[in-house]
Point group: C2
Chain length 209, copies 2
């Protein structure tokens, strides 16, 4: 079951030799929703490839304030951990399972070898960087140019896509942490969105209309 999933998710990305190598050295790990997959300052010696689920990537400052940067979907990798592994430094971000998720963990040594001798791996790395860069720019746009009400609505729309459902099971407190603001502000703006008939609120639930 596990190796077939590697085949299925990555056969259009990696060549067949590489798929076999991944099956051989990759260590499959599963995480429950809200599990911390990678934490800040944690040394990294494996690259995670996401097989199933979603992962949210967060930044945290010295005072413990959080900010959501972007989400990872199946078939993607965390470029943050790439840079960390290459530089043998520690993680600068936190990765949390947004849903139950499964990952293949690739030891750094293999990843370095493949980077030098496998073109499909090199292209994957390059494309990952490209996607992540775009997402970082998007995150910067949001916090720099958008007001909180717009950010909130964008966040909700993004969540509906990610979970493939118009009904979100989420608390105002959680949203406020992702967007780095206070619960009161989020409750206020959500009520405003409800008055504009864009959403419908109930306890632990938001329906996007």
């Amino acid at each position: 079951m596990t190796t077939t999933m590697i085949q299925e998710k990555f056969n259009h990305i990696f060549d067949s030799n590489l798929i076999e190598e991944i099956k051989k050295v990759g260590n499959i790990r599963t995480f429950k929703k809200d599990d911390i997959i990678i934490d800040i300052n944690q040394p990294l010696n494996h690259i995670p490839l996401l097989l199933e689920g979603n992962i949210k990537i967060l930044r945290e400052d010295a005072e413990g304030n959080e900010l959501l940067i972007y989400f990872l979907e199946a078939g993607e990798t965390c470029t943050m951990s790439l840079t960390c592994c290459m530089g043998t430094t520690k993680s600068k971000i936190r990765a949390v399972a947004e849903k139950d998720s499964s990952l293949v963990m690739i030891p750094v040594l293999n990843m370095q070898k493949w980077f030098n001798n496998n073109e499909s791996w090199r292209n994957f790395i390059l494309e990952s960087y490209q996607t992540r860069f775009d997402e970082m720019l998007d995150a910067i746009d949001s916090i720099a140019f958008m007001k909180m009400d717009e950010r909130l609505y964008k966040y909700l729309i993004n969540k509906t896509k990610l979970h493939d459902s118009k009904t979100l099971h989420i608390k105002h407190q959680d949203i406020s942490e992702d967007l780095h603001t206070s619960r009161v502000v989020i409750s206020r703006l959500l009520k405003q969105l409800e008055n504009e008939h864009k959403i419908k609120l109930s306890r632990n639930k938001i329906q996007v209309l």
Copy 2:
């Protein structure tokens, strides 16, 4: 003079064969302070390597609001243009000469070839991504977690390092554009910093104490 500069800036980064190739295919271009080197939506088919000077990388939204993301220094490249070139898409950022600067422009085809057959180039690309990622995170931290007075002071300190001088020749209006706020806000906060004896203000000039 031009090729010796390539040698000088890059001989500790690239192997000697690659240096020769860069000298052969690289096109040296010079820019005056405030020249636009790369503009938003401009298609890119060359990778710039910075020989001399400094470049500031800006993001701009649909309404024309700008935001400084980071600076490039000699020996660095703009990873934004890497991702653009690889994806044959258009530039998502603007690059402006912070000082008079000179660059070697590498045609995309060469860059792609080297990526597959030259390890020193591959490592350079990877390290560039790593540095840029860190700078993007730093930019996100600033706008998400810091208040404008802190961002302003950090900006000034950063400029003194970049220009290797405690005396900055800059207008309040320019600062406000880099930080995406208004001139009035910057004047107010600068005056506050002066009252705290952290800086000294005069027309077109700020001394960092």
